[in-house]
Symmetry: C2
Subunit: 337 residues, 2 copies
Amino acid sequence: MFQAATIKQIAQALSVSVSTVSRALSDSHEISEETKKLVQAYAKKINYRSNPIARSLKSGRSNSIGILVSDVANSFFSQTINGIESIAYESGYHVIITQSHDVYEREVSNIGHLAGRSVDGILISMSSQTTNYDHIKDLHERGMPIVFFDRIIDDVATFKVATNNFKSAYGATKLLIDKGFRRIAFLGNAPQLSITIERLNGYKSALADHQLNFDDLLVKHCFEGGRNIQEIESALESLRSSPTEANALLIASDQLSIAAMRVLTSKGDSKNLAIIGFSNSDVIDLLSPQISYIRQNAFEIGRVAAQMIIKLIESRYPIYEFETRLLDAELHWRGAK
Amino acid sequence: MFQAATIKQIAQALSVSVSTVSRALSDSHEISEETKKLVQAYAKKINYRSNPIARSLKSGRSNSIGILVSDVANSFFSQTINGIESIAYESGYHVIITQSHDVYEREVSNIGHLAGRSVDGILISMSSQTTNYDHIKDLHERGMPIVFFDRIIDDVATFKVATNNFKSAYGATKLLIDKGFRRIAFLGNAPQLSITIERLNGYKSALADHQLNFDDLLVKHCFEGGRNIQEIESALESLRSSPTEANALLIASDQLSIAAMRVLTSKGDSKNLAIIGFSNSDVIDLLSPQISYIRQNAFEIGRVAAQMIIKLIESRYPIYEFETRLLDAELHWRGAK
DNA sequence: GTGAAAGCGCTAACAC
DNA sequence: GTGTTAGCGCTTTCAC
């Protein structure tokens, strides 16, 4: 059994009271220098560390921030997490990371666990399988500071930060049109996700602005967001077969971009198909065949999200004005033309 | 302020005592069915969730496991984490992930935080910058269950699990020799890391077994383990320049493999250089130029590590016999010959 | 300047 | 079958 030193042990050893020890350790002005020195020296000697659990129970604060992402293996998320950590640590917060794996029950369980362990706030990127938001609404109504990033929802009024997905998808689609492509397909994640909706809207809007008809057959959703390779295979197959036959493809999800590349490469079907995919992979530019990509400012999204949650946590007054920050992404064209 | 429902509120609302509520919620046999139903129904109604902080303070247990890795962006680690989670969740443990970013102070701080928040055990992969192990020894001596995975240390007697690094590096080196290469260089992470030492030993041993001289000039270490691109650039440069001039390269670290590929690609220097790199990247086989790679069984390492820590946590008697499990890795040859 | 004591939410030994 | 109470480690109000 792990047994840490306690304030009580110090008190007994030094024949003072626990409150004196507590005050001495927190450098209270009402304790004599002499006693402080004594207590602090002894605490150091026995390697005393205050028990954060007990302190949390007392104060209701923990100086830690919880994160929920679908998967840390996704470069976008690991970069976002690094952004969050960079701000959190310099503000004195610890960061606790959990994964939903895009499974609703995991999301509910992890958020419950984070709330229960009294993190001071939670940063959430929604699981792609989640369609019921009650677990989050409840928590929010009971006062838990929450900030959404990347995959955000409208149903909860709070701070949010994401890429300007509409603009990014619009720009990518426009570029494909400008390059002469007319049969542009859209491959997206689960349809209720904010990132899917906004990117699809950008795509549609660009088509409309360039007098191209929107064709339902050119839009495919992967409900398991890249975890199920078969789903992607059949989506790509139908997009590539007549009468649909797309000659360009916008992939609206990081996980899908890599997975689709794999499918297309193994099928030898990447020729004559212009691809732009959202991807923050650090090796996306080393892949062969080359793929054009949209790189989100993941680190900055993390930084902004962390600043927002800390603002919420540390605000002395309730906040009613919430901002949704949208950050630009970079489009990297690697196509032939 | 986030305010959760408490057992006390339930007790008051139902005009029973807190202990009755506590027992009813834990389905104690000494409570009448009637009262149980009443309490449980009300608890559900107000969405009561027992406060794990309070319970931890009382029981000293938290049913959660802490993980320390250098970086979740590293595919090897994210896969290991997924393996850990798969076992942990089915055993009723939550998993808390933290990153050291290979910085000693972060490692100390995160391990302290995990211990303080009373996780029941900690899974550790050492930071590449750590050379002093006192923070871990202390914790271990005070009874905290600890399991090492991947980057392990000798100084603490406990369960450990890693790839059979000696064997993997030996096999890779031997393959290069068999393919006819004679000037085989070794590019490794920080020299005190177990993975570096064992892989270097495997490399040396294969050379010796094939009557090749070991040449100090053919071994380079990257102390910042791939975070500093300049370090890699200069290492590669000196390996490729006469009189050293390596014509084959064993890269003994995941992060280095990708980073080295980037450097070599940008320099156009990957021709006439056979490379085998440790890598669990999910796109390593899509890179161009192709690189041969050693893929570790990361998921299984995670599963084993989790089983070990749970065994330690749940053991009723102190354990004195510790196993170090070594798992085989797969070598994928992608070279010309 | 220091001590005593209450209380954070929960569990469990001990009443009755 | 249910209530009372002590205590986990800590902070903080109130005494002195």
